[in-house]
Structures are given as structure tokens and as C-alpha cells.
């Protein structure tokens, strides 16, 4: 890869990771609805995977996840009954978001902009549903209290507001990545060639 291209990529990604992460944890109330906040970090990672491929998405996802863990690493009730902060969950979530984001609607739809919204929606739904399942199971294992959320309240209080907010956040992120992103003309020439080994299954 051309050195100038590489330097531009590193600087742009570093800048966006730091600024978007800081913005989300400093002003979460700017884009919020029904107690949920727009997950700018998550959308950024999914969109990086979608537009620029798995390799870029994975690296950006891991670093963004590290910052997410530092700023707001989730606290859970441990098996000893004490509440403690965890390390690594943000990295895992963001890495998987990038992997899934780089797999949906990328080949047949040529990473086009309308399907970017569908990629955000799919990744948000997978994240929220699996997150609630894990939280429900963890609550059942560590506490005698019920999880409290019914299916309808999950939809109206958590999943649908988050979906709406993330779709809104997708608009500026697409503009950033396509028109002021890490690659000239908003296209990573290596993304479509990165079909590493036999990974074509699950790629739509």
C-alpha cells in the first residue's frame, strides 16, 4: 500500500475514533429518545466494516471497543454478588459488529449507501437482542430478581428507540466516511479483494 494512503488512513481513523468516542460519552443526551442514546461508536464501526471491509472494520472495532471499555466499561453483578467493572466486553462487541457489518449487503449491493442503513439496522437488532438475552441469563444466574422487561417493553423501551437513533446516526457517519473518510473517493480498493480464504459464506 502507498505510504501516503496508509498515513491518511491511520490519521483519519485515529481522529474519528477519538472524537466520536469522546462525543458519545460526553454528550449522550444530544441524540436520545425514550432513555436510549444514539450509539455513534457502534454505527461508526459497522459502517467502517460495511464500506471498507473486514480488515479495516476489525482493527477500528477493537480500538473503538477499547476506548468504550475505558470510558464506560459495563459494570455487572459478579458471582460473588459484588458489582464490578469489566474489561473486554466493548472490544468483543465492536469487533463482532465490524465482522457482521463487513458481511451483510456488501457483495451483491456493492456496498451502496441505501443498504448501509439496512446493515446498521441488522447489526443493531442483533446487538440488542443478543445483549438482552445475555443480560437476562446473567440476571437469572447471579440474582434472585427477575429481569423485569417483557417482550413488548423490550421492543418499545429498548430495541425500537435504539434502532431509530442508530439509523439517524448513520446519516452523518456515511457522510464522514464516504466524503471525508480514510480513502480518496470513499472506496477501499482492497475491500472487495480481501476475500480471505473461504469466507464467502455468510457474505451477501
Amino acid at each position: 500500500m502507498d505510504r501516503k494512503v496508509l498515513i491518511r488512513k491511520i490519521i483519519v481513523y485515529a481522529l474519528y475514533i477519538l472524537l466520536l468516542t469522546s462525543f458519545q460519552v460526553t454528550f449522550p443526551g444530544v441524540i436520545s429518545f425514550r432513555g436510549q442514546v444514539a450509539d455513534i461508536m457502534f454505527v461508526f464501526v459497522v459502517m467502517t466494516g460495511y464500506f471498507f471491509g473486514f480488515a479495516d472494520g476489525a482493527v477500528v472495532g477493537l480500538i473503538t471497543g477499547l476506548f468504550r471499555d475505558y470510558f464506560a466499561g459495563p459494570a455487572f453483578i459478579g458471582l460473588d454478588g459484588k458489582t464490578a467493572r469489566t474489561v473486554g466486553i466493548g472490544m468483543l462487541v465492536m469487533f463482532l459488529a465490524a465482522a457482521v457489518g463487513s458481511s451483510f449487503f456488501t457483495r451483491r449491493m456493492h456496498r451502496n449507501i441505501p443498504f448501509a442503513f439496512l446493515a446498521t439496522a441488522a447489526c443493531t437488532l442483533i446487538y440488542k437482542i443478543s445483549g438482552h438475552i445475555i443480560a437476562f441469563m446473567w440476571t437469572a444466574a447471579t440474582s434472585d430478581r427477575s429481569y423485569g422487561l417483557t417482550v413488548s417493553s423490550l421492543l418499545t423501551e429498548s430495541i425500537l428507540p435504539q434502532l431509530l437513533l442508530n439509523l439517524l446516526a448513520t446519516i452523518p457517519i456515511i457522510f464522514l466516511l464516504r466524503f471525508a473518510g480514510p480513502y480518496r473517493k470513499g472506496i477501499n480498493p482492497a475491500a472487495d479483494r480481501e476475500e480471505i480464504g473461504g469466507n464467502s459464506w455468510l457474505t451477501i
Binding site: 460526553t26 468483543l92 469487533f95 469466507n199
Partner: protein, 307 residues
């Protein structure tokens, strides 16, 4: 084999397994991974503070532009109020002197006289419903230490409960907010012999900004609008910190009566908070420091002797 090793989904599975191992190791008490994560702060914190400063400056500038007329009117009103308050202040100063005399005479204890208050600004807030801890700008460099397994109450400017400190780092600390599912505090209705209750965060109520109230028995009646304060049971929080008011009570299940509580403090609108540290803990720091001071000269003399 090479094809498998370079397969995207093999890499995903491998990295995921590694990260799961990181999560498990990070969950162990005293894990070194937490220290590693703190080093991220040297890059992340200055940028985040810069973003916060830029956002606040922009917001202040916008407010200055839009609120000019309103501020002028408010200024007039405030001048009148200052004059009135200055008169009141002289009266209260006299009353204060009398109260001090009476307090000494009757051995009255101030509610929070055993606690020192440390101010801190809110650095970062929740990222989503699970990544929901708050960071504040108070750390060990401010001379604060937190004994293992201990925690400090965090309140707002009106002494309303916000949460508790769960982790203390060099320049900042992590606060578990009142609405978090992991937060539990013993409370009571703010009256003589008030009913004792347990207040905790709840996944279903969090989005509405409410807490769950449990621990009520069948023959106890909790009034809507009743003020709940900390009971002091458990020793983590001092007695009498206002938490919030009862918003609804559900008597449908007599063996598990529950209620909802609306906290007074709104973390989303706070910029500054206060950490309550017992003097008993602060005395412990002083003892540690004096012990260290005693050890240091002998170390030096040993070194000198060696030389």
C-alpha cells in the same frame, strides 16, 4: 490448512475466544488488565476533556447570543434578590451563632458531620444501556484513597444521592449510578420511624428514569409522594441522604409489594458532583502516610550505611 487459518470467520472465532479470555481474566479481583486499561486514559482523557471543553464553549457562546435580553432582565431581578438575601444573611449569621451555642450545649450532631465532601466534575456518561457507568474527575492524585471493598456515596449540589464510587484511578473514578441494575441501597421514608425499604436499579424502569422499591411487608402502607432517604443500614451510605419520591405502589401481589421511585438527581443534567468520604477513612490515610514517613528515614539511613 492455510485456507482455514486465513478464513475471515476463523479469525473472528479466534479473536472472539481471546477476548472472552480477556473478559474472564479482567473479572478476577486485582486483575492487571484494569491497570492496562488505565493507560488508555493518557490518550483518551485529554481528547475527551478537549471535546467537553469545546462543546461547553460552543454551548456557552450560543447561550450568550440567544439569551442576551433574558439575562439582562434576570440580572435586574437578581440584584433585587441579592439585596434581600444580604439582609437575610445577617439574620442567619446571628441565628447560626445561637445554633452553635445550642449544639454544644445539647450535643446535637449534624447529619453529615462525620463526612468530608470532595467536589468533582462529570467527565463522561453512559455509552448505551449496558455500558452505563459514569466517570468523574476525582482520583488518587487528589489525595483520595479507597480501601479494598469499600465505596463512597456520590451526591449532587443539593445532597441528593446520585450513586457510589466503585473504582478509583489516578485522575478519575468510576461511579455506579442510582439507575444501574447493580445499584442497591437501603432507604426509609423520611419521617420518625419511617418504613424501611430497599431501592435498586431495574432494567425495565431505567429508561423511564425510575428505581424499583422492594422490601415492603403486607401490613405496611407506602404513600405516593413519600420522600425516601438513605437509612444508613449497611454502613456504606450515611443516614439521611435524600434519594427521591415514591411515584407508584403496586399492591397486586401481597407477598411481593413493589413501588417505583423517581430520584431527585438527574445525572444527565449534572456537571459537578460531590463525593462523601468518612473522616474515619481519611484518618486511615493520615495514619498510612505517617507510617510511610517513619519508614522512609530508616530506609535512607540503611542506604547510607550501605554506602
Amino acid at each position: 490448512m492455510r485456507r482455514l487459518l486465513t478464513s475471515k470467520w476463523f479469525i473472528v472465532a479466534l479473536v472472539s475466544l481471546l477476548l472472552l479470555a480477556v473478559i474472564v481474566i479482567g473479572a478476577l479481583p486485582g486483575s492487571p488488565l484494569h491497570k492496562g486499561l488505565r493507560s488508555i486514559g493518557s490518550v483518551a482523557s485529554p481528547v475527551q476533556r478537549g471535546v467537553k471543553h469545546a462543546g461547553n464553549t460552543a454551548s456557552d457562546f450560543w447561550a450568550a447570543v440567544t439569551d442576551g435580553m433574558a439575562i439582562r432582565e434576570e440580572n435586574e431581578e437578581l440584584r433585587d434578590e441579592i439585596a434581600r438575601l444580604q439582609y437575610q444573611l445577617t439574620q442567619y449569621e446571628e441565628a447560626g451563632i445561637k445554633y452553635e451555642e445550642l449544639r454544644d450545649a445539647f450535643h446535637i450532631r449534624d447529619t453529615f458531620s462525620n463526612y468530608d465532601i470532595y467536589g468533582a466534575s462529570v467527565l463522561s456518561r453512559e455509552a448505551d444501556e449496558w455500558f452505563a457507568v459514569v466517570r468523574i474527575g476525582l482520583g488518587t492524585t487528589d489525595g483520595v484513597k479507597m480501601p479494598e471493598g469499600d465505596s463512597f456515596a456520590v451526591v449532587d449540589v443539593e445532597m441528593n444521592l446520585i450513586g457510589r464510587v466503585i473504582e478509583l484511578e489516578d485522575n478519575d473514578s468510576t461511579v455506579l449510578p442510582l439507575l444501574h441494575e447493580g445499584f442497591v441501597v437501603s432507604g426509609k421514608v423520611n419521617e420518625v420511624n419511617g418504613i424501611g425499604v430497599t431501592i435498586s436499579g431495574d432494567a425495565a424502569l431505567k429508561s423511564e428514569g425510575l428505581c424499583l422499591v422492594t422490601g415492603l411487608s403486607e401490613n405496611e402502607t407506602l404513600e405516593i409522594g413519600a420522600e425516601i432517604v438513605t437509612s444508613g443500614d449497611g454502613g456504606l451510605f450515611p443516614q439521611g441522604i435524600p434519594i427521591g419520591v415514591i411515584e407508584s405502589v403496586d399492591y397486586s401481589n401481597p407477598i411481593a409489594i413493589t413501588a417505583t421511585l423517581r430520584p431527585y438527581a438527574d445525572i444527565a443534567s449534572l456537571n459537578d458532583v460531590f463525593v462523601m468520604i468518612p473522616y474515619s477513612v481519611i484518618d486511615g490515610w493520615d495514619d498510612e502516610e505517617s507510617e510511610e514517613d517513619e519508614v522512609r528515614p530508616s530506609d535512607t539511613s540503611d542506604d547510607d550505611a550501605g554506602e
